[in-house]
Symmetry: C2
Subunit: 468 residues, 2 copies
């Protein structure tokens, strides 16, 4: 295919208008975007046409979902095209007996959740940005959330997908079953690739039975080890299944509780770590009893433990708000530097100690807020600082957080991806063979850098500056 | 790297002996193998050394696990090296609190199951060849089995892996957590690739809590739709979780029951389809009650249904033997042609009708035995014929079974892989863009065809002879 030596903006825009219609090519890509062109195709065929046009004109494409990413994966610059999937927001089918849905990429998670509820089902994945995060974006970033310990991450929810490749062809694998050994399962190349290897246009997603009832306890515990004991008790409860197990370290719950005016005399906020446990099941009385059994067993083992069992749906919502209201952090510390790591469960206690002491060595006042998904080892760490940090400080902090993490079996990016913000960390900490293979795959599928260049991987190979 | 123009068998053998020791290079690769050389490395480094030697000598490598594959993925020919992982059979670690195990590739599934039981855990995957199938082989073939509806297939059990690439380098991703968005998740290239893109040497695998008790009912039902109703009732039971839901069509259960001398006056074998349901949980009385509730509810909806609830562990084992004793098929019909398809659950009834009528049109006496994993849509179909079929008959049968399967959202290979036996079906039925991308990936990672050439993909591109 011939590529224009010099981009011709007028001819490009005319071609795009011919492909998707005049109303769907805009000259303002919106805030946070440097690109001048926003294109809104309405079908996979139109997405393919846009990619083909981009290639002819020698410009690159940044695909856009719900714009809820946290690592700059959707950033664009002048000369690029932003391709929004917003007009592809159809829930095409739900098969209740199969527990499967087929959706276009632009469907918001909450829209799918609401459609599934009508069949007593749920997508098996949930996160705070549910109202705007799209299924296509969640596939492209391999989203995680609070139920990953039970149902896996987005990668494990996807049975099939359709994607437009960098050469403008359409990769079609709309498999509706979990078992498929018909050759290499290449859909996993597009899941978590942040739009750098293909643009996901349609998705077949597994659904799970939605429990009729839930019950929640918040435990105040002396150690991370005690939280793991409580999680194991919940996993083996015969009252229901563990839906969520969220950890709130002391400074985090103190901040959100104070901001929300929440207090409870029987639950002083002086424990090292709090654990929110939710069971789901078919019978409310059984769940309540199961929660009480867990609390009782924990009290037997750890007499200093405290706990609150939610006595109403309202109280349950109040407890969960203490965890989910992360905005309070950024009100207290504007643009506070935030990190998103995975740590093997049995290493969490030592890792948090290591981070606290390492940060204190950088600056005695530097103290992390720590919270996250304890049952899968995903910790969110936010610094008590106005951001962004300067380069030297940022590098020192990342060294403390990331240096030994891969050797431990963890990851410097649990669920937020790489985007632009974490490329340096990827380069510094990846297995060199894995990194080289990533570069080879990008080269094999997108040699002209048509799709989201400079995201996930550097456009040009960077020097590998190891943290250690 | 220089490759020998003409292989020098003596020099090759000497180099292999130097790499892995004289006792671990054998001149007999065993039955079913055409290769003259069997090499047994003891570590990932030794595997890498063998791959490097093979490249220098211009020979290719067939990796071997437990040798339980069904599609010829381990076949070899003179001039190749068979690389067995049998000496890499160490369970390196089990982390009970994380529900994670780290194993070498040559560990048998049953060995891991037994090690996990000591911690009240299980690998979340089970299949009849458990005694010999290895974890590395199960990763390389993306094994399925009876619990895939709940815990996914092998791909969903793997948190991390290490593999030797075709260029002899070692890809290391021993992640111990489920959330990892640190770039492309390329381990999925090696899972299900049947040793054509890398040789898997070590695996991090998720474990699940092992239920203390189980309860089983076998239902005789008037239709596939009724089996799906029963499965949905089991999925929503508050007594425990659904562990297995296996379908046995009439001619299959009649054959195994007769061969085993099994009969039960209250359960005549004249129903269109039988369903074996197993619940697992913490409380035997609850499970028994749950099973009875499901049976009762099914009887209310389908008065002609029949059922047997296992009253003892022995009776439970007897019921399961009716399903698992597939050898009886091959005693009745030597080398009977067998197929392994995935069908979306709501299409199973119509698909089986289509297969039966299509086969009868080929030959009025041709009748399939049908059985399999109903909760995930994986049907095993075995013909009442001595095999193998001649080419014309084989092609006619495959046309009936496969022609429309991908469009339905199913797959011509559910859990057995492609190997050599299903390459023609892959070529004939794949999405052309997916097929071309597979070829491109093989070319990018193994341009010299060092690893298992001619498996999964044709060595040379084949003409695409579409079934329709």
């Amino acid at each position: 295919m011939a590529r224009a030596a010099t981009p011709d903006p007028t001819a490009l825009q005319q071609a795009l208008v011919a492909a998707v219609g005049a109303g769907h090519v805009r000259n303002d890509a919106g805030p946070d975007h440097g690109a001048e062109l926003l294109v809104l195709p309405a079908s996979t065929a139109e997405v393919a046409a846009v990619v083909a046009i981009a290639r002819v004109h020698g410009v690159s494409i940044v695909a856009q979902g719900g714009h809820t990413g946290l690592v700059g994966g959707c950033q664009s610059h002048p000369g690029q095209i932003v391709l929004s999937l917003a007009r592809m927001a159809l829930i095409e089918a739900i098969y209740p007996d199969e527990r499967v849905a087929i959706v276009q990429a632009g469907v918001a998670l909450e829209a799918l959740q609401n459609a599934a509820i009508a069949h007593g089902l749920e997508p098996g994945i949930d996160l705070a940005a549910r109202g705007t995060a799209t299924i296509g974006g969640m596939v492209s970033t391999n989203a995680g959330g609070i139920m990953a310990h039970r149902y896996g991450v987005m990668r494990h929810r996807v049975l099939g997908l359709e994607a437009v490749l960098p050469d403008g062809t359409i990769y079609s694998d709309m498999t509706r079953v979990v078992k498929n050994t018909a050759g290499y399962d290449l859909k996993h190349l597009f899941i978590g690739a942040e739009g750098t290897l293909g643009i996901v246009t349609r998705v077949v997603i597994k659904l799970e039975p939605l429990p009729q009832c839930t019950a929640t306890v918040m435990l105040g515990l002396p150690s991370v080890a005690a939280t793991l004991e409580a999680i194991n008790l919940a996993l083996r409860s015969d009252a229901g299944h563990l839906r969520a197990a969220e950890g709130l370290w002391q400074s985090y719950i103190q901040l959100t509780a104070q901001a929300q005016g929440w207090s409870e005399p029987s639950f002083p906020l002086d424990q090292p770590v709090c654990l929110l446990l939710m069971l789901g099941g078919a019978n409310q009385a059984d769940l309540n009893e199961g929660i009480e059994q867990i609390f009782g067993e924990i009290l037997d083992r750890h007499p200093t433990a405290t706990g609150i069992i939610a006595a109403s749906k309202r109280q349950e919502a109040d407890l969960w708000r203490l965890r989910e209201d992360t905005d309070q952090l950024y009100r207290a510390h504007a643009a506070a530097p935030s990190y998103d790591v995975s740590v093997p469960l049995s290493e969490i206690g030592a890792y948090v100690d290591h981070v606290k002491s390492g940060l204190a060595r950088i600056d005695a006042d530097l103290d992390p807020y720590v919270f996250g998904h304890l049952a899968d080892g995903n910790l969110h760490i936010v610094l008590n600082r106005t951001g962004p940090l300067d380069d030297a400080m940022s590098s020192a902090v990342e060294h403390v957080l990331y240096a030994n993490l891969r050797a431990l079996g963890g990851s410097f990016s649990a669920e937020h991806g790489v985007g632009t913000k974490r490329i340096a960390a990827l380069v510094a900490t990846s297995d060199p063979v894995k990194f080289a293979t990533m570069m080879r795959i990008k080269q094999a599928l997108d040699p002209d850098q048509t799709l989201n260049p400079g995201k996930v991987l550097p456009s040009q190979p960077l020097a590998r500056e190891k943290f250690q």
